[in-house]
Amino acid sequence: MGFRRVMIALTSVVLVSCAMLAGVSAAALTMQPPAGQSEFVPVETLPPGDQLPAAPLLITAYAFVWVAVMFYLWTIARRLNTVETEMRALAQKTARR
């Protein structure tokens, strides 16, 4: 009798766990992000209302690329200048010896 009760209790726990797991899995599946686009479809025109809010983001993105490239070029020029100055100073030092 005792063994039977234990088996019933265990079976109940397993069934409840399975039901909960199924519920959680279903909830997790519904919370998945939508699938990424697999194709871009071109259109000819766009309502002006849709264009305006996007323009500052677009301009910022392009401007950032330009600024990043210019900044990197400036750092290369600055470092090159430092190296050349040091080389000239060393060459003068060596010549004086």
Binding site: G36, S38, E44, T60, V65, L80, V83, T94
Partner: protein, 218 residues
Amino acid sequence: MRKAFGPLVGIVGVMFVAAPFLIARAPYESTMGLVQKIFYFHVPSWFAMYEAIAVCGVASAIYLFKDRPDADRYAASAGELAVLFGLMGLVTGPLWGRKAWGVWWQWDARLTSALLLELIFVAYLLVRKYGGPGSEKLAAATAIFGAATVPFVYKSVDIWRTVHPTTNVVPTLKAPMGGPFAFTSLAFLLLCFVLLKLRVSLARRQAALDEMYLALED
């Protein structure tokens, strides 16, 4: 190569000036509209990052196993460029996502792995700068590890379910979109090459300066 470098710089400059005009003429995407045009700079910046990482990884392997100092100079230069172009991708992406998805950032597989890839190469530069004697070898191993993660980052959108567009987008682009995209991609790849040559020449001058210091001490 030196003779061709000047004209190449000119070509890259002209391409970057012409790119916005081509992008402006490209059609709007049906669901995202104007903001989708960030795509023409966003994706090529990742291509340029992958180019820099490939150079950094191969040069690091050559330095690690063959001990060639010039390979280390290429690796260090390409490592900087990987961070630069990665930063462009990480900044332009959220600007696009803000309008397309309604949020600046999503911790999904592509965005997170791309951020980690950027951080690996930031770590590469930090190890080189502050790692002390022998840090070049440790940095080279880091770069190889970083290069090995690129295929996972690239395929992450196909393996996991993410909000990011899949890798199928680029091969299926219609001609009016594909033309400007190919043009800007080529411009970014050439820009990466030009910057790499410039940065390597700086690294060579720095090596020459180090040799002068050593000669002076002797």
